[in-house]
Subunit: 260 residues, 4 copies
């Protein structure tokens, strides 16, 4: 049937036409993202407005057609529409149409940059995807430890920020506890913007301890992830067409026969 064939091309990644479709889509997305970026530069916007508008509408129409075909060819259209990728697909075209009605909130157009996420669906290719899944498994496997670490770090930041607010006070830029916590985050993560810096001796002393600590405790999540990655677990293979869960060493989906 034509619908199944189209489904294979759009949702699959294994046949010749589906690979071609992926590559073409990849390039359109990248061009689209670059146009969204360049459009926001005032000097370019003035000069190339009509060019940007032309490219943008071409891409929006292409994406709209693709969206409709995806719904039409999907075996479970509503599940697709409400799925993560379905919503991203909608988010990629909606702002352009909304712009037609409401010219007020121009920043809305920047939302189209979320089209970038569509790249990740295409990159669900065999080799690339497997590495990504291994990383995900390692991160998931260490999520409890990372969670403990983040809770401790965030608590330190909250307490440090509050102490700095008491020590330094508003006249040195530590105008409120949330503002001081923001400063503590900037400092402990070693970002160090330098827009607010401690002025008192005690504040500098406390910051010094916080900086050395922030510098050293990065060792903890690194150790956690390294140990987890060393286990080198392999992931189950989820069929991208029928969503069936196959074991790691499967070469074909045992439900729909998709080649991994």
């Amino acid at each position: 049937m034509i619908r199944d064939k189209v489904n294979r091309i759009i949702f699959g990644h294994d046949t010749g036409p589906s690979k071609l479709f992926d590559v073409v889509l990849l390039w359109i997305i990248l061009i689209s993202v670059i146009v969204v970026m360049l459009e926001s530069v005032p000097s370019l916007q003035v000069r190339f407005m009509s060019v940007f508008s032309y490219i943008e509408w071409t891409i929006t129409i292409l994406f709209t057609i693709e969206y409709i075909v995806r719904i039409w060819s999907s075996r479970t259209p509503f599940r697709y529409i409400l799925s993560f990728w379905g919503l991203i697909d909608l988010l990629s075209i909606l702002p352009s149409y909304l712009e037609l009605i409401d010219f007020g909130f121009h920043y809305l157009l920047a939302i189209r940059i979320f089209r970038l996420l569509r790249v990740f669906r295409i990159l669900k290719l065999v080799r690339f995807n497997r590495e990504a899944q291994k990383l995900l498994l390692a991160i998931r496997g260490s999520s409890h430890k990372i969670g403990v670490f983040l809770m401790v770090v965030v608590s330190i930041m909250v307490l440090l920020g509050t102490l700095m607010y008491v020590i330094e006070g508003g006249e040195n830029g530590f105008t409120s506890i949330p503002q001081s916590i923001y400063w503590a985050i900037v400092t402990v993560t070693t970002v160090g913007f330098g827009d607010v810096v401690p002025q008192t001796v005690l504040g500098k002393f406390l910051s010094s301890i916080a900086m050395i600590m922030g510098y050293a405790i990065i060792a903890v999540p690194t150790g956690i992830i390294t140990v987890e990655l060393a286990k080198n677990k392999s992931a189950d293979k989820i069929c991208e067409v029928c969503n069936h869960d196959n074991p790691d060493d499967a070469n074909y989906c045992n439900q729909c026969g998709l080649k991994f």
Copy 2:
């Protein structure tokens, strides 16, 4: 007996009522911490003063009741009062009462943020706690090596700061040795606020070496922690009710029968 039952609910984490108690307490603490934060923002303070005051006093009274019940239900009340958690509990309510007497030092109220630490007692839950203990064991197991590392790093910071003080001098912001050491800490930890920067050629050269070194030696604590975490030691189980030290594979405290 009622006292033992209350003790179980308040100090334990295994029965239905004690779990409910924990969850309710967790939310009250989080709300309380957020109120302390928001209260310090001048614009919000003016607008919502009465709301904040109302929430704050409700929470203080709840915490006071809880504190009294904890003392009453504890088998060893004085040990509880003088324990780490007992002192944190006291610190959570004291500033509000002190504020009633002395309106002078308003910053005192910020101390209430230490209520945040109470969250960690509640989070002494099975899975979460076990991960935290593994991390603690790894950090404790590598404390000697980390100690050596920190001593060397701090010494480098002291020597670098002093050298920069000699090279740059007060006119470039290196006004004293402690101030220069503070700068060295900011630099070696790669925070880099940029409020004080070297101006002389020699100062820039020395900073460059310090920065590259600071950038590379972070590898050392990371390596230490990773190797220690890879050993994956498991912790003894300390009973939270009777403080008895049970082996790692225990499911119940062999003294009071608490389920882990």
Copy 3:
């Protein structure tokens, strides 16, 4: 034959004369690079112009002779000219000659700093090179995982930058999406220049999350590289004279007899 002998001295690293040649060349390159650097300092340029010019031309002529001898003595001259090292060799002398014709673009001379890369050919010595190759193998072996990581990080930076552009807007320095993405890169990598900083509450909140994330996810590539390095693969030995691929435990090239 004289040509083969010269080839051995220039391209090989094993005999007495070739080692002497390497050491002399190494020093000339380092002096040359330092001269290029110092020449760019306005105060020194004025004072030592003639000295710099003298050293520079001596080195350029030496490098030119070396380049010609390398072509002459090479068995495959065209392959050498078009090889990576051949192009670097040409790049090392070309700017000086171009400067003679065209005085317009003085910055061109800075290109001579690429002479520095020539050091790496000389450093293709046994022990040093083997370590470098092990590192390269580890990086290559983890390139897929690192690729996934970089893609995710760059995507986060693009989305974060766009969101900050929408939230903060041009008046706070987030003048366009590319500029905001640049800011996001500065922030997530924990560099934190501080020339542009968020001003709105929402912007600071989003930045805080981005900073904590940027601070923690550095653990991922570290874990990847560590696990790969732990495998400690050894590299094949590529003969530097005849480019033959020998096994790891070879002591002599089995084609031309070069001692490794």
Copy 4:
């Protein structure tokens, strides 16, 4: 003999008197370092000049006596004087005496901070020292790989700095190649002072790549050190009295009988 006994007390760390000597010396050094620091703070210097002067001269005289006794009791006095620790001991007292003659260069006094290094001789204690030696062994064992890494990183910094000098030019703060290389070091190490920032589009693009790279390649030395630390080599025991090299499991020096 008295000289041997004194030698044991001063150079050894195992007997009761030598341990007492170490602890007393440790405190004197720390006090001395703090005095040197505080003396450099203008406001404190004016107020406590006589106190600082009194403490300083007491310590200088104590250190001078110690230095003389060390020479006298040493079996090889000249070797001691010219050894690393001998020179540090001399450096600890010399500035104070030089100050008596020459009042011109007041900054000279800051050199006394190198007394801090004397702490490390005292800390050559069994447990602490063993950890330090394991770390040193791991760093030494990976020195070739770390060397390769640092060479590549420094080369990247030199090339990046030069490119930024060409792209940005003097009007944006990139006034010379060395200055631009300094900026590249500040950026790639993620310190990011922010006193000089790129202004051109190309400069920002190049910096972005450099920052992401600098952020990611920290993984390499971390991996190297972790793998080396995992080998957990144990160090030979060098006798601190007679410098004899004993195997790792020795409890006493097999030459002079010192207990480790």
